[in-house]
Every structure is written in C-alpha cells, then in structure tokens.
Symmetry: C2
Subunit: 721 residues, 2 copies
Amino acid sequence: MLITAVLASNKVMAYTSPNLVITTADVADMRGAIEQNGQFTEAFVANKLIVNKQIAQVITVPLPKDGGGGYTHERHKKNYKLMYDAGIIYQLTQDEKYANYVRDMLLEYAKLYPTLPLHPKRKMGKQNPGKLFWQSLNEAMWLVYTSQAYDLIIPSLTSAEKSTIEKGLFHPIVKFLSVDSPETFNKVHNHGTWTTAAVGMTGYVLGELDWVEQALYGLDKSGKGGFLRQLDELFSPAGYYNEGPYYQRFALLPFITFAKAIQTNQPERKIFEYRDGIVLKAIDTTIQLSYNNLFFPINDAIKSKGIDTIELVNGVAIAYGFTKDTGLLDIANLQKQILLTGDGLKVANALDNHLATPYKFKSVAFGDGNDGEQGALVIMRQNVGGEQAVLFKPAAQGLGHGHFDKLTWQFYDKGEEIVSDYGAARFLNVEAKFGGRYLPENQTWAKQTVAHNTVVVDEKSHFNANVAVGNANYPKLVFFEKDTNVTISSARINSAYDGVSLTRTIALIKLPEQEQSLVVDVFDVMSKQAHQYDLPVHYKGHLISTSFDLNTHLTSLPVLGKENGYQHLWLKAQAQPKAGLSQITWLNDNGRFYTNSIVMDGDASLIFTQIGANDPLFNLRNENAFINRKTKSKNHTFVSVLEPHGEYNPSKEFTIAAVSSVETLSHQKIDDIDVVEIMLSGDKHYLLAFNATEKNQRNAFSFNGSKYKFDGRFKLFEIKK
Amino acid sequence: MLITAVLASNKVMAYTSPNLVITTADVADMRGAIEQNGQFTEAFVANKLIVNKQIAQVITVPLPKDGGGGYTHERHKKNYKLMYDAGIIYQLTQDEKYANYVRDMLLEYAKLYPTLPLHPKRKMGKQNPGKLFWQSLNEAMWLVYTSQAYDLIIPSLTSAEKSTIEKGLFHPIVKFLSVDSPETFNKVHNHGTWTTAAVGMTGYVLGELDWVEQALYGLDKSGKGGFLRQLDELFSPAGYYNEGPYYQRFALLPFITFAKAIQTNQPERKIFEYRDGIVLKAIDTTIQLSYNNLFFPINDAIKSKGIDTIELVNGVAIAYGFTKDTGLLDIANLQKQILLTGDGLKVANALDNHLATPYKFKSVAFGDGNDGEQGALVIMRQNVGGEQAVLFKPAAQGLGHGHFDKLTWQFYDKGEEIVSDYGAARFLNVEAKFGGRYLPENQTWAKQTVAHNTVVVDEKSHFNANVAVGNANYPKLVFFEKDTNVTISSARINSAYDGVSLTRTIALIKLPEQEQSLVVDVFDVMSKQAHQYDLPVHYKGHLISTSFDLNTHLTSLPVLGKENGYQHLWLKAQAQPKAGLSQITWLNDNGRFYTNSIVMDGDASLIFTQIGANDPLFNLRNENAFINRKTKSKNHTFVSVLEPHGEYNPSKEFTIAAVSSVETLSHQKIDDIDVVEIMLSGDKHYLLAFNATEKNQRNAFSFNGSKYKFDGRFKLFEIKK
C-alpha cells in the first residue's frame, strides 16, 4: 500500500474544476440534459427555485455562539448546503450570480475564520471542539460540502479572490482539522472519516496532495490512521458497519463522497476495488438492512429512517454510476430523489428509460467486526403471502449506540413489524422532548435487555449494561444455512452473564407445498447456578386470545420491577398455564393473525406487560409484550413457534383462519440433536432437527420408533401417515 | 301517490329476461365489451375464473341447522352469491353450463324449501325467524340475490323447470316473507326494506304485479308500510340515515337495488325522482360522510369500513348510470371494483376514457330525522396543508346502534384522526372475541358518553344511557353558517341531563392570508344545581408536552371511576393548572403537531387517561384522552382552540414549529354575544364573535374599548395594530 501511495503522490495532476464528485465531463452532460424533458430536468428546475429564493436573502455568516439546534449552528449548516447547491446551479446555468453569491459568502468566512477561537459551547473531554460549531464533527461536514462548493465556482474567480479564500479559509480550517486535531484526524471512527474526507477533498481542490496523503494514511502517513485504515477497520468484510444500519447510513456519506473524489482524481488507486470492493459492499449492505423501505431498527435507531435517506440516495447514485447495476434503479425509484450530479444524471436517464430491474433482497448472515468473525447480524427472508423477514442478532455490541440485546430477534410480515424492537427513545429535534436528544429513557429502557426479545437473567441486562464489557465480548455464530424450505441460524454467547451460556437457534420456514410459514425458536439457557430467566416477546397488534386463563389486573396496575428496564413495565396480567402447548394470538394492523405457540412445563409463567411505568413526562410509547418467565432454574430451554395465519377484513366483512393450526408442539434433545415436533391441523406433521453443537457431522436419531438421519446442520422432515 | 300506484298496476308488461338490475340491452352491451380490452373485461375474466372454480364443486344445499357464522348459514349465503355470479357469467358467455348449475341448485332449493319448518336456531321475540336462516333478514337478502339469478337464467329454462322452481321455491318464500310475516314486511326499518325489495323484485320476474304493489305500499297497499313509506321515513330530506354512515351503507343496498329494478320495469314511476331524488341523495350522502376513504365512525361503526364497501360500489354504479355525474367516477376510481352490470360497464368505460373529475366534498349540516329537524350531523371541511374535517354531532340518537354522544366532535387532518371516536367495540366475525359480535365493552365503554368528546355530567351518560329516552329527544341545531375563512355551527340540548342545558359552538377556521388553521370550541353548560362537568378529548398521537406540571402516577395506576365507562379508564396523571392559558401538545403519526389551548379558571383540573381498566380479556384498544374536569359548578363554559402546527420528519431529520403559536386565549360573554380572543405569535390578533341565542339579529359589542358589529350569526375580526 505504501508503494502505491508514493507513486500516487509523485504524480503531477492537471486539475480542472470541478473535479471531485462532479467533473467537467459531468457538467457538460448535465448542461445537455436540462435542455431535455425528464426527471433530471424536473429536479434541476425545483432546486433552482429553492436556491433562487435563498440567494435573494442577504448573506449571513454569524459569529459562532449556539450549540446544536441553536441559531448560529443551524445558520452555518444552512450556509454550506446553500453554497453547494448554488455552486451546482452556477455550473448548470453558467449564470455568474450564483457563483458570486458563493464567492461572497466564502469571502465572509475567509474574513471570519482566522479570528475564531474554539467554539464557546464546546464540551471539554467529550467531543472534540470546532470553531464554527461546538464539535469538530460539524466542522468537518461543513468542509466536505464547502470544498465541493468552492470547486464548483473556481472558474469564476480571480486569482486574488482564490488566494484570499484559500489562505483565509481553507488553509486554516484544514490545519485546524488535521495537524491541530491529531486525535480526531487519526481516529478510526466515523468522526475521523468526516475529517479525513474533508481534508483530502480540499487537498485535491487546492492541489495540496500532501493533505490527500495524510487523509489517506494518517497524519504521519504511516497507514495506522487515515481513510484506508478506516475502510479496513470500520466495516466487516461484507460491508456491515457494527453500529447497525441507522448509523451505517449516517457514516456512509463521507466514505462514498471521498471515495468518489479519489476515483475522479486518482483512478489508479482503484478505490472502489479496495478491500474487495468494500465501499460498494457497504452501500449494498445498507440497502439489504431494510424491510419495506425502512432500516431494521436495531440499536439506537429512529424507526422512520429508511432507504430514502439522502446518504443512501448519494450511495445508490455513486454505486450505479460505477457499476450500472440496474437493480439499484429499483431502489432509486423508491427514493424519489434525483441528485444534480453526473451520477444523478445517469440514474435519472436510466429511470426515464425504464431500465430498473427488481432489487434482490437476500437471506444473509453479515459477519460482524473487521474480520467478520465477531458474531453476525442474520437476515432471513421469504415470501409467503407477502414479504417476510426475520432479523436475528448474534452481533457485536455496536459501540456506544449499541443495545444490550444479544441473540434478540425481530419478525416482519406483510409490510409490518410483528415481533418488534423499540428502537431509540428519542424525538429527534423536538425541543420539548429533552432538547430533541436521546431521552433519559433511552438508557433506562430502550438499551436494556428486557426491551428486546431475548433472555434476561435475574432481571439484569447483558454485560450489566456496561458498554466497554459489551464491546469486548461478542456471540459466536454457530451456523447459518438454508435449503428450499428452511433458513436457519444458531448462535451462542457465554459472556453476557457470568456463568450462563445462551444458545439460540431460529428457523424461518415455508412449509412444503403450502402457503404456510413458521418461525421456530429454540433458546437454550445453561448454568450451574439457579436463576430467573425471562424471555420477552414484544408483539405488535391487538391481543385476540390465549389458550389459558389470564389473571388480569382490573382496577390497579402494579409495576413489574425496579430497575434495568423493568421499572418501566406495567404488569397487566399473568398466567401459569399447565404443562403442554400454550398459545397467544394477536392481530396486526396488516390484517393477519399471529399465534405464538409455546412449550410450557407447568412451572413457568406468562406475564403480560405494557410500557409506561415510571415515565413522568409520557416519553415512552405504550407498547405491549408477554414474557415467558422461568424461576429458580439452572438449565432451561424456551421453545416456541410463531405462525402467521388468516385474515381479518372488516372492510369486506370476512374473517378467515383466526385460529392457529398448530395442534402439537414438542422439543427433545436427542444426543447432539434438537428435535422440534410440530403437528398442524389436517394431519400435517413435521420434525425440524438441527445440530447446534461444535461438531458438524452426519446426524442420526430415533424419534417415536422411527430412525432419521441428515447431513449438515439441519433438516425439516415431513412425516406422512 | 295512490293514483300512480293504480295506474302502474293496471299496466300490462311484456317481460323479457333479464330485466331487474341488468336488462337485455345491458347484456348486449356487456357481450360486446368483453370482446375489447379494458377494466370491464378484466373484471369479467377474474370473476369467471372464480365462478369456474366454484361450479366445479358439487352443489350443496344443506338442511338449515346453524346460526350466524355456522356452516349451513354460510353455505346458503355462498349459494346465493354463487347463483348470482354464475347467472351473469351465463348471460355474458352464453355457455349453458353456468345456467345449468344455477338451475340445478334452484331445483334443489325448490325441493327443500316447501319441507322447511322455522329455523331451529331462531330467537323468539328478538328477530323474526327465517327458514333457511335463523333470522328472516338473511332470508330476504337471499331472495334479493336469488331472484336476480333466476331472472338471469330464465332464457335457458323449459316451462316445466320454470314451473317447478316458481311453485316450489319462489311462491312459498314470497308467501313466507310477506303475508306470513306481516310485521317485518310492513315495518319501516331496514329489515323491512330487504323484505319488500326481495318480494317486489321477485314479483317483477314472475309477473306477479300484486307482489310489487304490496312491496311498494305494504301488504294492504294502503301506503302505511312498504318501500315508498320507507323512503319517506328512514332518510332525512338530505338523504341521511340516522344510524350513521356505517349502517347507512348497509341499508343502502336494498334501496338502490329495488329502485333500479323499479326504474327498469316501471320507469313511469320515476322512482329516482321520488321525494326530490332521495335515493340518489342517500348514495351521495354516504360518500360525503367519509374522510380519507373511511366512513366517519360515529355510533356502532367498524372503523376500517369505507367507500370501497360493495354496497357503495353498487350505489356509485347505479347513480352514475342514471346521472352520468363524472364526480362519481372519482369515487369509482378509489373503489377499484368493477361490477358486471350495465351500470358497471358504463363506469368501466368512463374510467377507461379518463372521464373522472374530482368529487367535491362539502361542508354540510345534514338535518336529522325524516323531517330533517331532529338535530343535524354537521361536517366542516377545508384544506390547509392537507384535507381537514370537523364532525360535529348534534344529531338524533340513531336507534339501537346510537351512542350517547350528544354534541360530540371529531377532528381529522392530513389523512388521520386527530380527535377521535372509539367507534364500536367489536372484532367482526372473530370467534375468539365474543363470537365476533358486539363485545360487552361496546355497551360498557363505546356507547357511553365519556367515550366521546362531549360533556359528561356527574359521571353519568346522556339520557342515563336509555335508548328509548335517547330516541325521543334530540338536540336543536341553532345555526350552521360559513364565510370565506370560517365554518361554524352551534347546537343545544336540554334533555340529555335533567336540569342541565348544553350548548356547543364549534368553528373550523383558516386564518386569512396564512397556511394556519384553528378549531375553536365553546361549550356552555348551565344548571341551577351544582354538578361535576367532564369534557374529554380523545386524542390520537404521542403526548409531547404540557404547559403545566403533571402529577403522573409512576408505580401504580388507579382506575378513574366505577361505572358508565369510567371503570375502563386508567388514571395516568392529573394536574391543576393555574388560571389562564393551558396547553397540551401531541404528535400524530401524520407528522404534524397538535396543541389544544384551553382557558382554565385555576379551579378545574386536567386528567390524563388510558383505556384498559376492567378489561379482563384485552378487548379494548389502549387509547389516550385528557379530561377537563370542573367540579361543584352550576354554570361553566369550556373554551379551547385546537391548532395543527409544524412537522416532525425524522426521516429527513428536521422538526419545525413544534411549539404552538397561540399566546393568549380568552372568552367573554357580552350580552348575547360570545367573544373568543386569540393572539398568536408574530402579533396576530383575532376575535371570533358569535351569537348562539335564539335571536338572530344585528350584533354589536364593545371589546377592549373598541366597538365591533356584525350581521348574522358570527364574524371573525382581525385586529391590526
């Protein structure tokens, strides 16, 4: 790598503006395009209107004063976006007024910037401070946009103007972000990515190739820090970013923007081929981590965030520009946003010409960690009367935004959440809700283990809710396999609780020759000491029926527990069903019924809860769960089957199959093999057998007097009479 | 009327089948249409496939045994639908196999029917019994379809077959439904409508014009009963059916079907002009009583029922066939269902030719009762950043399905419910939920006054929840008026509670020259005795903030009351704000904020509730409300303003105007005039003045030293500095 670096840095480049994400060749194409009708022209007309409105107002470059959300903060954010947009409109229209507006604003900044001390609202020790903004992250974002805006208007500037802007603004801000802030600059973290991208892109524009080298390899150019190291470390080999998709799409923008600028300026670096195409993989993985257009809301995630986010609009455009993969156009169609860039034009033209082909969502285990071996995020998909997805999360902690939810799962069907994750407790930018920041309940509820669909031991969270311990430990993916009818995965973690081993196997099944799906869940807990084990299912919908009597609290609701999230749960009802099959049915807004069939031992209880206790300001959503609780137990196996069934259609006035077809459910451990027996109405009889031990071999077992065998990890046997 | 009757009955008709809803001329057009491409052909192909599948199965005409939902009940329902569908496919394809299938089934019925006693599952005293079904209502519905099916296959039958079917089936069933069941037949009620329609239509097909006369004028042909009397009594002059839109669309089908058959056979009766076009008005009113495709859920209503209901598909087709009103095509487009009838073909052709024009939803006060003077159902609409609607309900009780909700209101904005009505407590046809019938909680919660947005006195429901008393009393609509910016209505009822007068005025306002709307609510309660007055607002969304401190129950939730619906409310928090302006803000799923600004007197309290107490089987939805409570009071006026504002867009990561712009709110009664003063941020200052007394005159008042005057009922004054 160092060899390439030296070669590249020695190369003399003839720089013609613009030449970062947008090139002079792009500009020529775009100018041609806006003479024609089409989506690109529509986007241009709309953007131009907005820019015209904004540049009609006086330029405001205020002295930095306010923190996030405050006036000067928001003004400087608006300014960089406006300069970027006006720069593009200048290139497309060749109307000097747009360039002049950007120039005048840059001159203001060039006057102001050298006079600035560190921002008055900086927070010592927590975030690196900026000068225009309270944290240097925003300063770097400002420069990523502003370096592009400058690049776009260079042709309109005199040498004197260039000199003033470069000396007054770009040199000092680059110095501030790089040599004066070595910790952030060299940090292998998304804040570091924004900084290296900002400095590297400015380097290209100003012809300061040394800045580019520093951006790529760290301040000392050793490769221990810098953009390439970030590409090595921050993504798994499959392009998964371990904070989860909500932060993956946020982190994506500086990666793809700088990568595109590198490709434009130094194609010989083959940046899109780096680490087996990690940048393109990261874009694709972000798409894969969505269901019905929304990202899977693991960890700290705002649930309405989805594939139409601007970061992924950029990602899809850049990836399509490079790969011409027409499946990406399917996503672009859903995004309904056309970028005024060369790649944006390629997307718009392709959409105008109806070149989109269906994007293929797949069942994948995304290995976690930079080596892909630190657990995995598992996605299983099939279509049975609608798209279905299981998310299974034997993934790593995911840093400070991670939740204590080892081996949790979620289920999606017919467009909706069925078994759900709370996501983050936050009302983004709503001042009345804790200033729009993460609510205190994000810590006290949303991150805690009981807020997820996984085992809680003794009412404590995984790793005792210690992030550092969580980051240092991760589950092991035992296997992820599939055949025609079954997608199945098994994982284990022994470090979430001292002395307790958690092994979970989840299978998404389409039964042969039927429109019938099942999710089988076998959760094996082992310990030498006796504990209380709770397994919650956070279900979405209206409770329809239970196969056992409920002891419902009618006139007073108590709270379930005291801490670790339990203090937020109202105890609505409890039950102690007798041994055998217990069933809980709910009705989702998608009009389908869901029944969780559970093997009970006569000793465990079922607890029905609603979120909302100890919530003085009504910060939490009042969602429902049931918890399978087994007390004073050493080893225990939770076994259940989730079955989507029937349809409730009050509009057309019919209801079909409102009752589960599961009639018998049992589980046996036969040597190394788990055998789940499922009998459905109509004499349908199945055995799901799997081997989740460390040995992976030829398997054989006897069941009810018959002999069965299978190769590999699992097999679904259909037993005919 | 009697004169017309005699003339018509003397007329000799040459009857050619089919000639009820579908005529021989229709059939010729339809046969031509299916040679072409288009929506009609698509519907034909789809229906034919379904019919083919069904007639491949053996004919089953079981001995009646089961009640509603049971096997024989459902089988006989399927049979009539299948005979009707097969009859149409026969006419369109001229393939005898379809006619033969219908013929063979009719012959089975002709064999069975004469042997039948009253249905074994009949309920004595409650519903009139049938023979095929447990209640005669279903028997009449069966005959409405089956008479049409028979009409469609007559051309394929031999005289002998006709004679067997008519003597064995149609004569006995008509006799059973008419002369043997005089009470139902003569009843001015929707059960009577199904019966008269069934008998009348069979009369046309069999040439038994005496049956038609009886259907139109009652068994004794006096006009005291029968279809025309039903048209006179069951609708208000504007075409409003006083059980509300959910039952209006249900009742609609026999009215429009029989009317169409009358129009076909005896156009000289001008049935569509009868009572100033009441049939067409009833169809149109059903459409008007919807918002975002769903019916306003007043009274017992399943909330997902909307304009795509099959009854209204028929209504729109018949109305379009008669009027050619292209606005109806807009509704047909939303319904996405093409009928295989002559009118269905006209709709399909018009849609294929893009003739649809926007249907106009209006602000209307639908006078209630057959004279239109028994109160009114008031709908106010405007568009301010999305369609908005206020429903204000000073309507009559609406018989047994009516709720005790005099003067309640609902608010809709940007596609969603904002201030909501619970609707019915029912999971239609879901066996596990009380057999799919109305739940016990429909009586204990949904019908009770506290379940609505209107004043509850001393925690009792209106009319003490006595239906007979409710039916005998109704509010008075004081006025309904509008100008450019304001739609306003006022109503009063003195009989809901002994010795208490309730007067409410609601105004939907679009402020001049702004994209800003308000709903002003002034609820005046007067009594000579001291009472407790509760005014609930059932809001949809997440509570964001209150301008006062909340005393929230953190670790134990008590129940609010003991009966009349209060036993179902958890008491989540309470507050006693100081005198002046109190504000409650919530965020709806539509991404908009809503603030209720309330004038408080320092003595009243605000109570925050959630539905769900005393609900052992989780039958109720856990929805939220706040209640403005004034105790020990004789006269009290509740004054509030609801303001939609801002946008929460976590997907695009912005939040704007999350805080209400209402800064001052006050109310004064100046002689006969109510004056509501509203000051918004940015020095916007308004007075809404109205006169809700019985006198309607030239109004003048002084306010803050200035003089104001207005003609008529109201005026919105904008006060400029």
